[in-house]
Symmetry: C2
Subunit: 408 residues, 2 copies
């Protein structure tokens, strides 16, 4: 499976902390991102005025990205002063104001130049998850008032990791992982449609023999997840391919409604798949370790934590000691939904939550600690966290050791 | 504009409060929804065992719906007892367990029979927004342990309102509002692409002359929103139609990536449109009333409430009295994001939030009141709220009167 490299998508990227002059129309209407002169390294010297296709995105941890496809202008503000050296500037178009003005002084700007010569302007809050994730993805230092940049062509980095691909997905860059080498086996097992999520996850595990769920639970979980992801996108591509060949035009009438319904079904299947996949594979690892646990067992108020160790019967049994109970939520991405876990079982003081989300911000992990929630992140994804966060994070291995101790 | 009727989509609908026997596998594996015998009125007497196409959905106020298309079984449990009258039962398929088991004892079930003879099984939490919305949409009494139902064919109800269409959208029933009567004007103004959201909203207002923003602000806002919605879907249908005619197959290769990108762009444009539209039209109404206000003005910590009256300069001026300031958030749908407004301006004790969301649950509105947030709902949408909630709600008219008093 070739997973692609960052350099397949980007040439270079720069960042800075935004000033009011750049994004506050009450201060300036200059539409300029300052200090971007050094983008010359990627954009070349400006002619008088060059228009470059540019995607603008405002990214938050709570809502879907606000995106606009327009242009940016790369120009030499000293074009009329032939005796002085060029002074290149990057301007955003007036059309992009509704996106750019979402940002405030102190927020973070990233300017990315794609391999396809398109620019992407990313704006996000300082201290947000998405900021930490993007800085990690592009290997950038925390932004300052000075625009600083990195040449991605020069870097000798490994293939894009699971964590990296998740972040790229958030900025709507899709890294293809489908692999038709698996298609025959998929069609033989399920035909051209998806089975239930449990059956699909189990199929992925069966095809992934060189793993060690007992000795290497963290890397085993990742291997299962990644193979299932490849299988999912392989079968999805086949299904979409077939549907597109049929087309959405019959007797010269187009089926707009059919298109919307089909595309919604594709998006929704993608959304719900990841969560189920994580839970199924975790259950398989807990079984391999011979742990007693229950999925979806009820606690008080009909709450249903994803995993309860040893189970709901013990939870409801007053004679069973509180400190023998473990409650684990599982969320493939957290966003601000991690708080839901806090109310899922009053008897368990410290809750655990396992996630695949890379680089959750220090703000969020501080709040988790304050709420006595221990985050569990598979070891390969922990590299996207800051070093002081990593000291606190549990790996899956750590979590398993805890549950074993409590069961002993 | 023909907006459609509920009876265009549904024949009948029933509801009950779920018991553990129905949804808790620890109690029963019977897969039966109890008391559904009376569905005979719509489904007819069961043969021994009839399989009916059925969509299962688990609906929450926080996450995207979990949906599964499968079947349900309608059968006569006394088929072998020819001397007794038939005892019809509705069973869900084992395949639907991952959706049905999301529900717990005490949650709410709705069984809808569509005009297309498909069943839709909807499951949601008791006391949730979506429960209140669905009960209002289908005009059902609050569910009890007994299955009760309503014949939609018999009702003489008006065309589907804006509120009703929003709720149908939540259960993925799309009510077409496009109207090609507007297409020529749209193409003349913008060509086959969308302009900025402000320009589009302004275009809609210009085409909507018989309104009275000063005297009838609530109905004017709704008229603008509804016409813009029609214009949006008319132009969208044209754009999709053109794209589908081109197709996603070239030289016998399909463009799966192009399909995904195009369908994402359609979904994202839908998502971001509604919010902008509401803000633009509100601003136009505030202007018609000659009120001083500012959109996106900064308060402390770089927070940007949607509307600040009279403006950010007054907010930052310590000599300006606190009780002369009004802060208004605008969210076309609230979900649990209404809390964001609470931190957008410490000087304004009671915040206001205007929304188009129908039938927000009493749980949520109680929490809003406790947090000193006054909800503003255009009068035509207030019918979807319970009577005690309506006594508390502000209309847009009420809100305008308050701001005028403060400015006087």
């Amino acid at each position: 499976m070739k997973r692609g490299y960052l350099a397949d998508y980007f040439v270079g990227v720069g960042t800075k902390r935004l000033s009011g002059t750049e994004v506050d129309p009450a201060i300036s209407n200059g539409h300029e991102f300052q200090g971007t002169r050094i983008l010359q390294a990627f954009l070349g010297p400006p002619s008088t005025r060059r228009s470059i296709p540019c995607t603008y995105m405002w990214l938050t941890d709570e809502e879907a990205p606000v995106r606009l496809d327009a242009t940016a202008t790369w120009y030499d503000s000293r074009a009329n002063q032939p005796h002085r050296r060029p002074e290149p500037r990057l301007l955003y178009t007036a059309e992009a104001e509704p996106v750019v003005y979402q940002a405030s002084e102190g927020d973070t700007l990233l300017v990315c130049l794609g391999r396809d010569a398109r620019l992407t302007v990313l704006l996000c809050r300082a201290g947000s998850d998405i900021e930490q994730q993007l800085l990690w993805l592009f290997d950038l230092e925390p932004p300052t008032a000075q625009f600083s940049q990195r040449d991605i062509r020069e870097t000798d980095q490994g293939a894009l990791s699971f964590a990296a691909r998740q972040i790229l997905e958030a900025i709507e860059v899709e890294v293809p992982v489908a692999d038709d080498h698996w298609l025959e086996a998929l069609l033989k097992a399920f035909g051209p449609k998806f089975p239930g999520t449990a059956a699909f996850s189990s199929f992925a595990r069966d095809l992934c023999p060189e793993v060690d769920p007992k000795g290497e639970p963290d890397s085993t979980l990742m291997a299962w997840l990644e193979l299932e992801e490849t299988l999912f996108f392989t079968l999805e591509r086949h299904i979409i391919d077939e549907r597109l060949r049929t087309g959405f035009v019959a007797a010269s009438r187009t089926d707009v409604h059919g298109f919307i319904a089909f595309s919604l079904s594709v998006q929704n299947r993608r959304k719900s798949r990841a969560g189920y996949s994580l839970e199924h594979h975790l259950a398989s690892i807990f079984e391999a370790h011979g742990l007693a646990f229950e999925r979806g067992g009820r606690t008080e108020g009909n709450k249903k934590p994803d995993f309860l160790f040893p189970g709901a019967a013990a939870y409801r049994d007053d004679r069973f000691p509180d400190d023998g109970l473990t409650l684990l939520g599982a969320k493939s991405t957290c966003k601000d939904r991690w708080r839901q876990v806090l109310s899922e079982g009053a008897r368990v003081r410290r809750k655990h939550l396992v996630t695949l989300e890379p680089g959750i911000s220090r703000n969020q992990t501080d709040e988790m600690r304050a709420a006595d929630l221990q985050l569990v992140v598979p070891a390969p994804i922990q590299t996207s966290y800051l070093s002081d966060q990593r000291a606190w994070l549990f790996s899956l291995q750590d979590f398993l050791a805890l549950v074993r101790r409590r069961a002993a």
